[in-house]
């Protein structure tokens, strides 16, 4: 049975089934696909047989008027109806199951915003774009959006739920296979819609518990509703550049700013420090510490020419030391710098076998 499952899954280019629910949905898929193919190709074959058998032999050939018997229409209606209702009778309960999280599921708050995913564990750490969950335990997601409608989509789980502004929606899953699975945004939300990629990391339960403990021990603040707050405080005595890089990654800066010179939604950070930049209002200024800091706090005040004013403000989200750490990091991004460490946010490792 497992081989048949894998055969059909590969035939239909479906991703790995990372939960039992995904497997059930796929079984329905195979049933629907199989019966639809049988029915449709039967009709195709019938038409081809008729075309050959009843081809026109002379121009004014006449044909008889064939009236259907009630049994014909009964079959034409009854057979598809029975089949379609069978599909529905299997699929709808699956949907109901998906909409009904079990008691005892642990919660994760998901906040979607242009163009990133923020996850927050109650009492636990926050993260951007990477959601870690344990294998074999039900997880309920409570989703909302900060701006427009987004949609949280994990193909491997066959799971999707819209994240709406102004209210919470919910969904749940129980992962059965450790691994890394892509998260996509499935509701068009603007420029960064296709860049709003995340990663679901399913870990063995013990590993997950250990990770969660470690995060909480070093955590100062735990937000309940996914408000973006840096998980660790900046240690002034430590490596500011490294901390700046980490904070920038966590705050999602790399969604819009590259570090290797590539054109993207915001100006690249490579060689930004002390660069002469032309602004939208025609002035030319130097991107020094003050300008970079101001761009984080009041991003629409001095927009670089050719870029859209879409950067959100980090006022209240970055403390002064954190902003400074980011500036220090930016200062090291020079084309002649010996060690520029490109960090493009979460690295998605393609899962093997589609």
């Amino acid at each position: 049975m497992n081989e048949l499952n894998e055969l059909m899954r590969n035939l239909l280019w479906l991703p790995k089934q990372a939960s039992d629910y995904a497997r059930s949905v796929d079984h329905l898929h195979f049933f629907v696909f199989g019966s639809a193919m049988i029915g449709a190709w039967t009709v195709v074959a019938t038409t081809l047989v008729f075309i050959v058998r009843y081809r026109r032999r002379h121009a004014l050939q006449s044909t008889e008027h064939v009236e259907p018997k009630p049994v014909h229409e009964a079959v034409f209606i009854g057979v598809p109806l029975a089949l379609f209702l069978a599909f529905f009778a299997i699929g709808y309960p699956q949907y109901v199951e998906l909409q009904t999280p079990p008691k005892g599921a642990s919660d994760v708050y998901v906040m979607a915003k242009k163009w990133m995913w923020k996850f927050a564990y109650p009492g636990g750490p926050n993260s951007t774009d990477v959601l870690r969950v344990p294998v074999g335990r039900p997880v309920r997601l409570l989703l909302t959006s900060r701006d427009v409608i987004h949609s949280f989509f994990v193909p491997a789980l066959r799971l999707k739920q819209d994240a709406l502004p102004g209210r919470y929606t919910q969904t749940w899953f129980q992962a059965s296979e450790p691994g890394r699975y892509p998260i996509f945004c499935a509701e068009y939300c603007g420029l960064g819609h296709s860049a709003m990629l995340g990663e679901l990391v399913v870990m063995p339960a013990a590993e997950f518990d250990a990770w969660l403990d470690e995060q909480r021990r070093s955590n100062q603040v735990a937000a309940q509703d996914g408000q973006p707050v840096a998980a660790e405080e900046v240690d002034i005595r430590g490596n500011l550049v490294e901390q700046g890089r980490r904070i920038a990654a966590m705050q999602g800066c790399f969604k819009c700013h590259t570090v290797d010179g590539t054109q993207h939604i915001g100006p690249t950070w490579l060689d930004l420090y002390n660069r002469k930049v032309k602004l939208e209002d025609g002035r030319t200024i130097v991107a020094d510490e003050a300008y970079i800091t101001r761009s984080m706090m009041e991003p629409n005040a001095e927009v670089v020419a050719g870029y859209k004013p879409v950067m959100p403000t980090f006022q209240g989200k970055l403390s002064a030391p954190e902003a400074a750490a980011i500036v220090e990091f930016i200062k090291t991004l020079r084309t002649d710098a010996p060690t520029a460490e490109p960090q493009k946010g979460p690295i998605y490792v393609p899962i093997s076998g589609k």
Binding site: L12, Q61, S62, H65, V66, C185, A186, K308
Partner: protein, 544 residues
């Protein structure tokens, strides 16, 4: 006189095309046939424009990263493609061209009920199209044709012109629907009872009902979006107590029936084509006629299947899912009846029939993917992925456009008095069908893999199927281009057609090719249904 000389004589005598010359006579015409030809020019131009944007989209998707444009341009491209194809082609094309031309001819009438309003719809189309296209190009609308709030009410791009343009186009659609309904009720020739109506008329009737009842809802909904964007009244803004999902319900309340506005006329056309080319009366006339009404009716109650993942209640999703199955049943009835019409027929495989086959197969496979989507749990995975894109393109291109081409080839000699090259037509039909498959089957698989819609860039595992799809699209475009070329050249070089080159017993063939300005010198009296091909031949349609 030899048959061809007789045809030439008919062709060169005054007909609706050459009776009055000059642009002004066309722009002020009240003749439904001239109005139909104007619609043909307009919708073909719209199709070419929408198709051009589709090709640009597919070229951009040739590589996972940026290929020929940036993200903002891409988002504007798919908006342009969707708005133009749906509002400027899919909704108006078959009713505007074939409905206008053939409804009066099939009813034994001299024109539609309101000829001046008919002309007015052409101008509404032009104005609405101009405003919408100008707005999208100049202001760069990037919302997609679905205008979901709050993105559409907060985007920096201009949305008002395209909303206004769509509103005006909606008025054109509504007035066409009103015109056709009244025509069918009040201008049937004596003896033409409802049960003798050509199936084309039944399906156009059902379409017109949807146009009249559904379009105003869209018009008002789009107006509310424009008002909200301009003034911030907050009807869809959660910060002021509004609900963005209300927009989705209102929008899809029109836009789901709208897809039946797009597919019912296609079904109308193929009912005629299959009877003519199988030279046989339809199997199950009543079932086919009433299933059109069934689709129109049930189609109003299924809009929530676009909202399965929106946070809609589980119960509502169940209702919408099961009702969606029923629409599929009406379509299944038609598919079986069209197939059964071939039984004991006298089938002639010419270009219109090849397009009919394409229509039948793509409607069937595409419709079945629609049923699959209605099972709710499967839709959760497929919603907003390329699976849905492939599904609706199977119906819109695979079914509707094949039917449009079937009708165009079937009725070309009647409308223009010329035959096109059958060899080129068959070759193009094969190209179109192959190109279509190559374009959209990979998209089903992309959807299964999980590639979302409206993605400008994508992860590498989606690369090969995207390349395949783009290759198919080029083939498809090439096929369409060939069709355009040989049809246009046939107007100059084509063999002059007689009144009935196909030997069809549809009522409209009892006129010269092309028809005169005055459809019928005397009101016909109908004594039998259309498309009766028994031996001895049934009575002629007209008693003189």
């Amino acid at each position: 006189m030899s048959p061809s000389a007789a045809s030439e004589a008919v062709y060169n005598s005054p007909n609706y095309l050459n009776a009055e010359a000059g642009i002004r006579s066309w722009l002020t015409t009240r003749d439904h046939k001239r109005i139909a030809v104007m619609y043909l020019g307009l919708v073909v131009a719209a199709f070419a424009l929408g198709g051009f944007f589709a090709l640009l989209i597919r070229v951009e998707l040739l590589t996972p990263g940026p290929t020929i444009m940036d993200a903002m341009t891409y988002n504007r491209m798919f908006t342009l493609h969707g708005v133009i194809m749906i509002f400027l082609f899919m909704i108006p094309a078959i009713p505007g061209v074939f409905g206008n031309f053939f409804l009066p001819l099939m009813l034994g009438a001299q024109d539609v009920a309101f000829p001046r309003i008919n002309l007015f719809t052409v101008y509404l189309y032009l104005i609405g199209a101009a405003i919408a296209v100008w707005g999208m190009i100049q202001g760069g609308t990037d919302t997609g044709w679905t205008f979901y709030t709050p993105y559409s009410t907060t985007t920096v791009t201009t949305v008002a012109p395209v909303l206004l343009g769509a509103f005006i186009l909606g008025m054109s659609s509504i007035l066409t629907g009103v015109n056709f309904i009244v025509t069918i009720h009040t201008l049937r020739a004596p003896g033409l009872t409802w049960m003798r109506l050509p199936l084309f008329v039944w399906a156009i009737y059902a379409t017109s009902i949807i146009q009249v009842l559904a379009t105003p809802v869209l018009g008002m909904t789009l107006l509310l979006v424009a008002v909200e964007k301009a003034f911030g009244f907050g009807i869809f803004d959660p910060a002021r107590g509004g609900d963005p999902i209300l927009f989705q319900h209102l929008f899809w309340f029109y836009s789901h029936p709208a897809v039946y506005i797009m597919v019912l006329p296609a079904m109308a056309v193929v009912s005629e084509v299959v009877q003519a080319f199988a030279r046989k009366n339809i199997f199950g006339y009543k079932a086919v006629a009433f299933s059109s009404l069934g689709i129109a009716f049930v189609g109003f109650f299924v809009w929530g299947h676009h909202l399965f993942t929106s946070g809609q209640s589980t119960f509502a999703s169940g209702i919408f899912g099961v009702l969606s199955m029923f629409v599929g049943i009406f379509t299944a009835i038609k598919v079986f009846n069209w197939t059964a019409t071939l039984y004991k027929g006298a089938i002639h495989v010419a270009a219109p029939f090849v397009y009919f086959l394409g229509f039948l197969y793509f409607l069937m496979f595409g419709g079945l993917t629609g049923i699959a989507l209605s099972t709710v749990s499967l839709d959760v995975h497929w919603q907003d992925t390329y699976f849905v894109v492939a599904h609706f393109h199977f119906i819109m291109v695979g079914a509707t456009i094949m039917a449009f081409l079937a009708g165009l080839h079937y009725w070309w000699p009647k409308m223009f008095g010329r035959m096109y090259s059958e060899r080129w037509a068959l070759a193009a039909a094969v190209l179109v069908i192959l190109g279509f498959n190559a374009t959209f089957i990979p998209q089903f698989l992309l959807g299964n893999m999980g590639m979302p819609r409206r993605y400008y860039s994508y992860p590498e595992q989606f690369w090969p199927l995207n390349v395949a799809s783009t290759a198919g699209a080029s083939l498809l475009a090439f096929g369409f281009l060939i069709v355009l070329i040989y049809l246009v050249t046939s107007l100059v070089n084509g063999k002059v057609a007689g009144p009935n080159p196909w030997g069809s017993r549809g009522y409209e063939w009892n006129t010269p090719s092309p028809p005169n300005v005055l459809n019928f010198p005397e009101t016909p009296v109908i004594t039998r249904g259309a498309h009766e091909y028994q031996d001895p031949p049934a009575e002629a349609t007209h008693a003189h």
